[in-house]
Subunit: 458 residues, 2 copies
């Protein structure tokens, strides 16, 4: 392990340069016109795995973007770690808010700026480089490794579950490890123990069969934008409580006891609001911000459109208005059941003046991780060895549906060992990843594999 750690230190600059190459590929999975770039990124990852010395790495076709699968089996006596990550990225828009082009990586003040630098190319790359550090120093890996790196995480992972189902044997392992989450705060190492699930739909209202002149028809023909706004506004009550019937049914909201523990975490509400320049929070019934963003369900409109959006004025009464709406879910809420409830709500609330089109775009189940699993302790110890601090256990508001899929389909627990920060602006302009954290992650993973293997020989 010592030589692996030394190799990682000695080759850190090379690692960063390689990551920059990967970040230059605009692997935007949600927009079909980037499909060739997505494939290029997958091929790049396979090549890097083979260069690192991994015994087997291949590009697996799906109905959508390819999945990268790799494995390095040392011995059946050793435990097997399944590493999951994704090489696809979010769209960069609004493009004009980036200080430097999203796919031309640059380092400023020790941070690497590029779309995907943190989510998730930078974090999954820490695993590749950890394995390389072992293998390129003639050191065998301390445990068996399998890697599943998909290209559709940012577009719903529609082909992931079919792939897992078709490859259960191949993917069998003792534990899964994912680095796609954030630390609690700068200098506060932490391991994520809970994730919100997600339901994502698109709603479209059609009023008149064509765009109309607002002077000739306005006042009698209902405007789909006004109608859509009315529907959206009805989805929350004045206390910001979601009004869809049955939405909270079965939701495992935080218990009083959990809240007591949770309130001990060093969460700075003022700094949180200041970081996004917002005067005050708006939470469901006034619960704490930290609870609201990590352990409570939400409903957000992620996009809206209709009518004329260009310069100046156009007096149009539009035919169509649409919106993308997503809900973050907590354990006990099923994405499909929630979508059905929302669909029923829209069907019964859409006025007779409008035609409704409702699409379920994708969803993911929420998860709570078992904090007593052995790999969790190994991860905590590895992190403490690197940072000198005991990591906190905390929940995160984002969604990584595969964690629930691994549990359901492969019976695997997952360790969420993330090195991002909320300030890394993932899904936003100027996404970045701190090179100090990139270094910390590699060191932690090298140690984790060693600690976990030594304590869990079969």
């Amino acid at each position: 392990m010592t030589s692996a750690l030394a190799y990682a230190e000695a080759n850190f600059d090379k690692f960063v340069a390689q990551l920059e190459d990967l970040l230059r590929i605009p692997s935007i999975s949600t927009d079909p016109k980037y499909a060739p770039d997505v494939r290029r990124a997958a091929e790049w990852v396979v090549a890097d795995l083979l260069d690192a010395g991994i015994k087997h790495a291949e590009l697996c076709e799906t109905d959508g973007h390819p999945i990268v699968y790799a494995e390095h089996i040392v011995s059946s006596d050793l435990p097997t770690v399944l590493v999951y990550g994704h090489y696809d990225v979010q769209p960069p828009d609004p493009i004009d808010l980036w200080d430097s082009p999203p796919f031309e990586p640059v380092i400023r003040n020790g941070d690497l700026y590029a779309r995907g630098s943190c989510d998730d190319k930078g974090q999954v790359f820490m695993h590749l480089k950890s394995l390389e550090s072992y293998l390129q120093t003639g050191t065998e890996l301390p445990c068996n490794i399998k890697m599943l790196i998909e290209g559709e995480e940012e577009s719903g992972s529609v082909n992931l579950v079919p792939f897992i189902n078709a490859n259960k044997e191949r993917l069998s392992a003792d534990v899964a490890v994912i680095s796609d989450t954030a630390m609690f705060a700068e200098g506060v190492p932490s391991i994520t123990t809970g994730l919100r699930g997600m339901a994502y739909v698109q709603v479209e209202l059609t009023g008149p069969n064509r765009d109309l002149h607002s002077g000739v028809y306005g006042g009698a023909i209902e405007n789909p934008i006004n109608a859509l706004a009315r529907l959206i506004s009805k989805l929350h009550d004045k206390d910001h409580h979601i009004t869809v019937p049955g939405f909270y049914d079965g939701a495992q909201l935080m218990t009083e006891a959990e809240l007591v523990e949770y309130k001990k975490l060093p969460f700075d509400e003022t700094a949180f609001l200041k970081s996004v320049d917002v005067a005050s929070a708006r939470t469901d019934g006034g619960i704490s911000i930290h609870q609201a963003i990590t352990a409570h369900p939400t409903l957000d409109v992620n996009g809206i459109w209709g009518g004329y959006q260009g310069a100046g004025a156009k007096t149009v009464l539009p035919s169509i208005a649409g919106a993308k709406i997503s809900m973050r879910l907590v354990p006990g809420q099923d994405p499909d059941a929630i979508v059905d409830k929302l669909r029923d709500w829209f069907v019964s609330n859409t006025p007779p003046t409008m035609k409704l089109k409702f699409e379920n775009l994708h969803g993911g189940k929420p998860v709570l991780v078992d904090t007593d699993q052995p790999a969790m302790q190994a991860a905590a110890d590895a992190m403490e060895q690197v940072t000198g601090k005991k990591p906190l256990f905390s929940r995160e508001g984002g969604s990584i549906p595969v964690v629930a899929d691994f549990k359901d389909l492969l019976g695997l627990d997952t360790v969420l060992m993330g090195f991002g920060l909320n300030s890394d602006a993932i899904h936003s302009p100027n996404e970045k990843f701190g090179l100090d954290r990139f270094r910390m992650g590699i060191g932690t993973i090298i140690r984790f594999l060693d600690l976990y293997a030594s304590r869990n020989r079969n």
Copy 2:
């Protein structure tokens, strides 16, 4: 006059071909990138006026798009008619809903399809060709003619009032004539006696200072799209009554007596709804559709935007959401006062989580025309001679602010002699103008000038 009518008949196909040339110029005034085309259209009109035999025609610079001014003074004994029209057009989007390219005119079933074919290139062109029909047959015009053809009607006419103020002497006349309105229905000749005014604003809400990950911030940071939807929905109550305080103050809504007369007009509500494929109307307090779209104030959202509008899903909590909102006004409502009331409403209703940006894009005063003016009778008689039917007097829902400006600044009454149809889809995809109405308009204008002049010598 007889030879003029004969010339118009003989040269009708040439007139149509010339109009097609004008329609090929994309003179979209609201979008700065079309400025060169707007100018090209102005120059085309000047050239056509001079070819027609008009004594003087020139392109007048403004701070925006140029104004075309022309005059043909025969004798101080004769009355002077000021013709107003506009050579600019609305943007064609949504472009994909056009059956043929908006700036490549085609004739189908006797209708000429192109952006601007009816609004207003086709209608103003009827005047040019009427004058040509007199002058190219060696017949002097029966009265003095002045023409004011602007290029900013579809973008708020911001430079028109300054031009009128600077040229009051030059523009002095006995009556104004505008062909930029619709007939009551196919085969039902009519003259418009009232127009709604307009107030048009743009509203933008900024929540967080950048786009955020909805999983990391959702539930605590208010979403500007949700907030904007809530504000828009509050602008109408459940009876579709506008809630902005003082909005209806002073509005000259239809009196019981007027309504009795109005209800006699042959307005087919079923056909109206069927023509736009809408199941039912939604009017202020349930008033009749005809009253609602012509003689009652309205509030419509003409455009809305925010977040991700591309393919697939993006889990963004956007920084900004915006909307374009316009109000149609009736006599007694002042555009600036209405905008102030709406601004106050937004200022006091915007939540503390949002920053508000409110812009007044443009406005226009509503008008009621004096139906007893002599030119009105001449227009009615001319129309009856051409169509064989007595024209109806009716109000229209659209806005032509210059009518109020002519009254206020030049003391001129206006005759609204329009040959469009609501089914001409102005401001919509597949805008068209019936060639039969183009012919009818030219014949009517030739007769109108003769009738009006013979009855109103100074």
